[in-house]
Symmetry: C2
DNA sequence: TCCCATTTGTACGTATGTATG
DNA sequence: CCATACATACGTACAAATGGG
């Protein structure tokens, strides 16, 4: 029997019984000592856990438990179902970071502005039942909103814009795709590369105008989220 | 710069220039010698190619090239854009197979019928520009349609139903997700496991009734298709 | 800022097991 | 049975990231 597979299974059981998501496994060196094998063999075993999305490696820190083995049966019911049109008005989002950036060519095109202009970037993360499920990058074309926006912490972005700036937004377009997650998405959503993310790109106009005020890209864990379209 | 990454990139270029899908790379030992590195380092480089779906390992035989690197640049423009609501009415679909099957519990639930009943299954594949992009499984709850349906070869299913059976369907629900492709989807869409598929599940009622007449599951290559939602 | 201990990441070397033809 | 080629496992060393003093 392959050593790394038996170790991998033992670690799975350990995780189930003694660890919680967010915990760090013992250092590889210690595990190697405990199992009486070389550190490479432990690494190979942990590779399996990483490939199965159970564990995430953090250089210099350790190997973090993402979730329990019995929880990672994908696509077996118990999905969350989101509404496709609620983007930006989600009440339970939390701001990860917000800053002024210069618009890339691509972003400028989406926002209908000239490249190199300053825009506001806002990154929010949405949890449900304590699990991060969706990360959204909002791009706002009007840098004059910055003094107000930088105090936005959590809740509904569109609600905040209305309250703080008397601005109302109207959906102009919605595009829908899927792809393998970026490294940053893996980190924020606590997944690994094998779990696709669904991506929703929306453009929102200022109400009563046809200028694009906001462009947002949402990435949702495809193993936990399913969207419904309203008819 | 990390050695294994530069080797991996060199191998990608070699594959593009000198290898065809189905070819075998030189043995790892030879590559190690050629690059002046240890065999483990070559293995690590090939791991990257395997993870990107470029190469498959065959113990005792060698490492087989699956496809060319330039084919797998994902999400770099030149997407096809589909409309989310056109399912079943696609004119350019081609029937892969059609048959009478017994409904599983899951399908019965979706169709609102009892399990074990006979239903019609229709599998269609949609090409665009010669590339298979979307495979759809249609399930029709009324087996009496079978004599007519079994002659359906290509075109719009909903159009055919209207012409041949005077039946009109109306969308009742649309659900949207993404996941890694099944083996069958890999085969039909000519992709490998690293390319996610977007899945659209729809339920269609008989017009003027609320019985579900059709349940369909569409799987589209997420690297080539983006859907737009009409407002 | 800098140093240091800890921990993961990369790279080398060697040996043996296992599948293929 | 044999040669070839990939798979696993041992060992060693140093690089790179992290966090605390």
């Amino acid at each position: 029997m392959k050593v790394y597979l038996t170790i991998s299974r033992q670690l799975e059981m350990d995780i189930r019984d003694y660890f919680s998501p967010g915990d760090y496994l013992p250092p590889e060196a210690r595990l190697a000592e405990r199992f009486g094998v070389n550190r490479h063999t432990v690494r190979r075993a942990i590779d399996e856990l990483v490939a199965n999305g159970l564990v995430q490696r953090h250089q210099g820190k350790g190997n973090m438990v993402l979730r329990q083995p019995q929880q990672y049966r994908l696509h077996e019911g118990a999905h969350f179902t989101g509404c496709l049109l609620e983007q930006g008005s989600l009440p339970s989002s939390q701001v990860i970071c917000s800053r002024l950036v210069t618009a890339s060519d691509k972003l400028a095109r989406e926002l209908g502005i000239e490249p190199e202009q300053k825009i506001i970037q806002l990154q929010t993360l949405r949890h449900m039942e304590g699990i991060p499920r969706c990360v959204i990058n909002h791009y706002l074309s009007d840098p004059q909103w910055w003094p107000a926006i930088k105090h936005f912490q959590q809740g509904s972005l569109h609600g905040f814009l209305k309250r703080a700036l008397s601005v109302e937004l109207k959906r102009e377009s919605t595009r829908l795709g899927a792809r393998a997650p970026s490294n940053e998405e893996c980190r924020l959503l606590q997944i690994n590369k094998s779990v696709p993310v669904m991506r929703i790109k929306t453009r929102n106009q200022l109400k009563g105008s046809n200028r694009i005020a906001e462009y947002s890209v949402s990435s949702a864990r495809a193993d936990l989220i399913e969207y419904v379209v309203e008819h």
